[in-house]
Symmetry: C2
Subunit: 337 residues, 2 copies
């Protein structure tokens, strides 16, 4: 038999058993669960991505709800295991849920939560940060300085680009793209906002353009996954040393295509767009409240993008699930709060 | 006898001999000089900082003007050498001129040029870039990604800080500080602008606060040199891993105090605040036109902070020196253009 995964247990005598597959930032989400009579088990195993078998062993014989991660494969096997253990509540700690087979969840009557409403500004600020860092060559300049290579001011040292007066393009100008655009406009950049329909009407084609058939498809694909032809990008960076790029997601994540890691004119960060303390603690809180709300039989919050009442640390959160993506399929009632 | 320094010569038969102690970005400044009958010699020696003796050898027996750098020691020795060679024109390729002994220049009747009017936005954008990069840990995140350590999304990976709603302090809110403040305000930060007088009235003391006696002293010291107690900063960074800093200048430049290069929560760049292509090419043009204008006997431009007419690449620049800091002492006339 495999060695059991390490877990940390909070409130061992709680009535409802809730599992979090990962430690999450902050402590409020933990307190909210244990105050409502949950026994919380947090998997602390040093393993970046848990397998389906790992999670089945965490679920065990009796489990009321699970908070999971977008790196995990939530399909038939896990939802049937959760259902057998008596659980009807799951939440991703993420807005996206392309790691979740929602049809399988529907089949077993398991609610699938996600965490919109707290990522917009944090993600837009990362985009602005990458734009400015790439323009001013911050990473290579820091490496040079840190290595002790700086021996005096020189007219040609790390000359980058002024953004003022330049044109910025935003492909996919939803909430995040628009927030980013606002930041760049005020730096006196001209901004071209492009929606899918705008592109189509103008006959322009982004590299991997295709028409999405539903808004859900757009949401599932937005910003994540193979938007850029990374092999072509590496070639372009090699041939055009003055072309600079900042990337937060990758075609074969967590891997980069060969050559990208060697390019000085690329800044590459490991999918940290939502990695601010405020956002990540908010995501943890919303994921915990999705699971708790389903366990308690609470209705669904009417607007998942306006979740401020759940985030106020000085008040009891509303008796509702902040965001359940398959609420309609499961016939869950909408909150009147 | 020492080996002569390497130089590149343009327009060898030009009437006026002008020396640039360093190659500078762009080509317009070169063309402007050779079109006006200058023989231009650019020192291309691979030596970051030229010594006084190096520059004396570049000046030689006959020299009409020199474009120098803020890393060079322009005092009695160099101005007397330039004067002996028949030269009355010098320009720093910089706004600051604390490397220049203006009294010595006055004594030999040498005009001292500088290059304001093109640095504000580029410098403010670097400050914004450092603020955002530090908040979102761009350099350490890039190093982690590039080293191949990323093996999947994790809730705690490189969690930084959202700037929206935070308070930003700007000590020294002149042109650059105000431009930076405008950028940060629009990211929905609150900004506290502080002038020296404001600080004094409130009884607050910046670390190395002292009252400047003249505006010239403020200009010479602004942003450069020992503003921060770097040893204390290193201690603070060690004790407070969540405290983050971005630095472009250093107490003992080009050196950092021990320990700073090892701090993950510091971003350090080698004095690149003005390092955008537009600004550096503009600085080169203004420095060349200061020297050319003095050689030609042109008057002094009336507002050194509004130099757009000199930067228009499609027009002949005005017949004036863009900015001569000792114009009054030398009794040079002001342009009526």
């Amino acid at each position: 038999m495999a060695k059991p995964l390490q877990v940390e247990v909070y409130n061992p005598n709680g009535k409802y058993r809730v599992v979090s597959t990962k430690p999450m930032p902050g402590t409020r989400w933990i307190n909210l669960l244990i105050e409502q009579d949950c026994r919380l088990e947090i998997c602390t195993q040093k393993k970046t991505i848990l397998s389906v078998e790992d999670i089945i062993s965490l679920i065990g014989d009796k489990c009321d709800g699970v908070i999971g991660q977008l790196t995990e494969d939530w399909g038939e096997k896990l939802f049937s295991a959760l259902s057998r253990a008596g659980g009807k509540a799951f939440s991703n700690m993420a807005v996206g849920y392309n790691n979740v087979d929602v049809n399988a969840a529907n089949k077993y009557g398991v609610a699938v939560g996600n965490t919109p409403g707290v990522l917009t500004e944090t993600t837009a600020e990362l985009a602005a940060s990458l734009s400015l860092s790439a323009a001013r060559r911050i990473v290579e300049a820091d490496e040079f300085m840190r290595a002790g290579l700086y021996d005096g001011w020189l007219p040609h040292l790390f000359v980058g680009n002024l953004l003022k007066g330049q044109t910025v393009g935003v492909i996919g100008a939803g909430r995040i793209g628009s927030a980013y655009a606002r930041m760049m406009v005020i730096s006196r950049c001209l901004v071209h906002l492009t929606y899918g329909q705008f592109l189509k009407a103008n006959g322009e084609q982004p590299v991997t353009w295709k028409r999405a058939s539903t808004m859900e498809e757009v949401l599932r694909e937005a910003d994540v996954g193979p938007v850029i032809d990374e092999v072509a990008l590496v070639e372009h960076l090699k041939v055009n040393p003055m072309f600079r790029v900042g990337l937060d997601v990758f075609e074969d994540e967590p891997y980069m295509k060969p050559g990208l890691a060697e390019m000085k004119n690329a800044i590459v960060v490991p999918h940290i767009a939502s990695a601010s303390k405020w956002t990540r603690e908010g995501m943890a809180t919303l994921a915990a409240l999705n699971v708790l709300g389903k366990i308690k039989g609470y209705p669904i919050w009417s607007d998942p993008n306006h979740v401020e009442p759940f985030l106020n640390e000085n008040a009891t959160p509303p008796a509702a699930c902040p965001s359940i993506v398959n609420a309609k399929a499961l016939g869950l009632p909408v909150s009147k709060l």
